[in-house]
Point group: C2
Chain length 654, copies 2
Amino acid sequence: MASGSSNKVDDFHETSITIEGDHSTMVEIHKVCLPPNKTIFQSIKHNFSEIFFPDDPLHKFKNQKPSIKFLLGLQYFFPILQWESDYNFKLLKSDVISGLTIASLAIPQGISYAKLANLPPIHGLYSSFVPPLLYAVLGSSRHLAVGPVSIASLVMGSMLKEVVSPTEDPTLYLKLALTSTFFAGVFQTSLGLLRLGFIIDFLSKPTLTGFTAGAAVIVGLQQLKGMLGITHFTPKMQIVNVLSSVFSTTKEWSWQTVVMGMCFLIFLLATRHISIKKPRLFWISAAAPLASVILSTVLVYVLRAHTSAISTIGHLSKGLNPPSANMLSFSGTHLALAVKTGIVSGILSLTEGIAVGRTFASLRNYQIDGNKEMIAIGVMNMAGSCTSCYVTTGSFSRSAVNFNAGAQTAVSNIVMAATVLITLLFLLPLFYFTPNVILAAIIITAVIGLINYQEVIKFWRVDKFDFMTCLIAFFGVLVFSVQMGLAIAVGVSIFKILMNVTRPTTMVLGNIPGTQIFQNVGRYGDAKRVPSFFILSIESPICFANSAYLQERILRWVREEEERILANKEQDMKTIVLDLTAVTAIDTNGLEAIVEIRKMLDKRSYKLVLVNPVGQVMEKLETSRTLELFGEKGLYLTVGEAIADISKRFKIEV
Amino acid sequence: MASGSSNKVDDFHETSITIEGDHSTMVEIHKVCLPPNKTIFQSIKHNFSEIFFPDDPLHKFKNQKPSIKFLLGLQYFFPILQWESDYNFKLLKSDVISGLTIASLAIPQGISYAKLANLPPIHGLYSSFVPPLLYAVLGSSRHLAVGPVSIASLVMGSMLKEVVSPTEDPTLYLKLALTSTFFAGVFQTSLGLLRLGFIIDFLSKPTLTGFTAGAAVIVGLQQLKGMLGITHFTPKMQIVNVLSSVFSTTKEWSWQTVVMGMCFLIFLLATRHISIKKPRLFWISAAAPLASVILSTVLVYVLRAHTSAISTIGHLSKGLNPPSANMLSFSGTHLALAVKTGIVSGILSLTEGIAVGRTFASLRNYQIDGNKEMIAIGVMNMAGSCTSCYVTTGSFSRSAVNFNAGAQTAVSNIVMAATVLITLLFLLPLFYFTPNVILAAIIITAVIGLINYQEVIKFWRVDKFDFMTCLIAFFGVLVFSVQMGLAIAVGVSIFKILMNVTRPTTMVLGNIPGTQIFQNVGRYGDAKRVPSFFILSIESPICFANSAYLQERILRWVREEEERILANKEQDMKTIVLDLTAVTAIDTNGLEAIVEIRKMLDKRSYKLVLVNPVGQVMEKLETSRTLELFGEKGLYLTVGEAIADISKRFKIEV
């Protein structure tokens, strides 16, 4: 690699170096600059804005008139105002069609997921009414369809059920569920307001994939209760308990339920399969749940004389969401449980909501603001907890159907809410004969879709550690509990980051002849070691977690290089060049390590030079006076310049 | 920067590029290589040996005869065999002198530190007898002087005292102390055997500085009991409790004790000051504690009619360490406490021992093996717990005196142990009149030395975050407790590593004219943006914790660049170059982020090219088929080659 062009040979001469040859040329050495001086206040401000405002949310407000600033501010808090002025009949038509489509999915899903959370089915419908309306006003995604989701329902159900029985003390259970929902909302809103949205980034894809698959297996197994018509079922969630409960109650199995359940399950899975194969036929799987509900209800009604063994939903009282603020309790022995459940279900629903929002935003090439979304979802849950709703968020299945049905704006959420409203006011008696087994079949179909085995295969192929994290999350959920599995997997992911820092890669660089490129000699066959130099590159920040390791490792490299030189009878090593290009940060331990390495190499009469420290590393080398130790000839901008300059001086010395 | 030399102009032409000009030349483009293929087994083996055997401890064994291998193996486990053959009278003379010097320090220190751990003073002497003998055989440091140390004594004392009172139930307390010592030994040995020594690296220097200073303040305050002659003192360790206890017991203060204590404290501090100013006079501060003990004992004995208010050590029963294996208890309600105390005091004593060992090894240019040291210290503590010793390790103050007194090998530890043996057998009655206040004065002098304010000033100057960590550890210890302070500080240090990864630096690169150097345009004034290119460099692994951030941040960079170009009416941006040189690792989330960024830039009609992925990143780009998306012209070895090749094609297209 060289610079300049053929009519710039002067430049070339000035900057060229001689590595092996004896034809000395002028060497232009570039100085390593310090970054521009910053006051403490400036650097705190910079760090603060990078941590909390990386997306620069106020950039639209710059250089605007106050009136426009006010309008932008309103639009910031109520994104509905961004598009309402351009709204027209054509958009409305698309939104009505998609709204009706998702409503047909939302009603059976709402009832089923409420059962998953061990709540009365009606709360699933309540939760598909108030939250979507609020999201339509506050949310920044145009395709997110809001309602209860399987993972959050399951987590809330399993965490609360371990302490309070939903059948023995349904009032306390409901109170706890609503209080948890409130805390979930508070937690979500606070994350958004404090701009701590990055916390959800710590749920990596492998963690979520494994966690979701584990949760799906647990939920699927729980549905055996409904599918087999068992009445006495274990309240535990662990796989061993569930299976032993299933096989110890074989006498309770009802063949009518099993037959009906299997038929509808096959029907639902078949429609799902069709929609996956031909995405244009998405409406088949979208309509299937409602069709199943209607068909099975009619069947049970017609055959009601012969199907007493099939349990049905029974009476649902008509009417709008009753206010429930009085159900929230902020004291008592179960407060800690409610807070914990709120945080876990809150963070999981947030993760799903934001991931789904981002997915569809990127398909339509707009951006959603993570922190703003958190506030919207949080407010929706806080308001929901006062109107008999439990945790809701942007649902993946519903949003996919919404998107495929051609939704253009959040108006489709309003249409869905209106349909649910009509159902709540007038259609509830129709669900009297809806068999519970059909809800179990709908849930099983939904959770099977959550097991993403292709992704797991990809982890194995691309990144063994991600694969391991995924398995740990999966088995953690199955063997311990939902929250333990999640905690372990997050711990393992963080451990991996720490291991990366604790045991950074160091590599020996060589020169690709005829160029200024220095690359790993182990990887680039044509990269050759430069005689009397030993060039090492460190690939991580140097900090307390690795400073002792790096000292040892560098000495080992030097020892091995000495042995190699001795074996090959090569020219003795004189200078060790430490390429700091990839050292992205340094702390006081790291600075001491550098001093220590220099001292030890000095004792063995090797010279150590540093190359290309990045801005903040350079700053710290300077303020800690480490640079003074190295002197003027101990720091270079590029490996090439270091070698050129030092070998020139070798010759002078000789 | 350019390559080749003046008689290699052909090379130069082949590799030169044209950035602005229109004088097209040939461009030699280097391919980015995949690293050599490794099987899963090989890469697991490589990672495993980097994590657990970075120092390659078996390298001496390579290509040796079996008999030599056996000898080396023996020497590995018993480092004493490494130097015994070269041992001579001259070395012995040095070792005897230094051994006697540290013994004169060890006896009063042993008695004082045992009091710090709330144990009978005699256990401090026991602990200066067995462990040094064992260390002399097993340890690899030649200057480490072994015995009880202030931090570990203090931590053990404070953790056990919170649950069991040493005055009300001394037998249970002693049992717990010995059991904790046993667990400390087990923990230390296991860390060494499992080669998990890097765990102590997580106690960064700022953490330790703050923690030690906090502990020193607490211990110093605790000594007010002895200095003021208070008999009813709070068992709590928190600063508020201690101070209120001091001022609520003013009636108990004994003026004789206060006068004597202050005099000796001033004497000890003065000798310490002299030795710091003139390191050659180290023996003054080394001899001062023993001199104080002798002087004060004589004083109290002579004036015994008038000094009944001064409490003394009293009767110490003569004799060697009694066996105490029967005192270890591995059941009961206090087991968890013993394990916890063992782990905390074990890790702290390990940290001190290894840090001290490393310090003196580096002064004499030899290396100690961290994992081997852990085994030595662990075995010494396990054996100690069976012979009435409590936690011991390499002590900083003693080792410094040892080193200054000219110690050459671990024989000085043996000499010290022999002196302690004589004391235990014959001299104990002499301590009957030794006043407790003198021990308090010795402890205060010792802990004042632990407050390293210069270091704190350096943290402030060099690294504000390290300064903060240090303060957090300090106040954590003062306000909460010793173990909480430590835990919080470690948490904060790890949080910093995570924040570094979560919010990595991204920077815009420009070309330094006439060279192939691309540097941060914000830092290098002469680095100029290359027209129609936008070059970004990412300075961290791309992983789950930052993939969402990086997507957002890169889009923001592009948006800001568009605005800049518009404002300055510059040439439109066509290609975005992502320099991955400092991206040291990538995971599946990171790979998806790259695909996502490419997709989003594609929608805005920008071309994205990647530059210089390191080995494992390249591997993963390949196995995940991300590279296929980029095609042949989407990956370059250097920024310069990317720009040269792409601008050549611009011209062809135009």
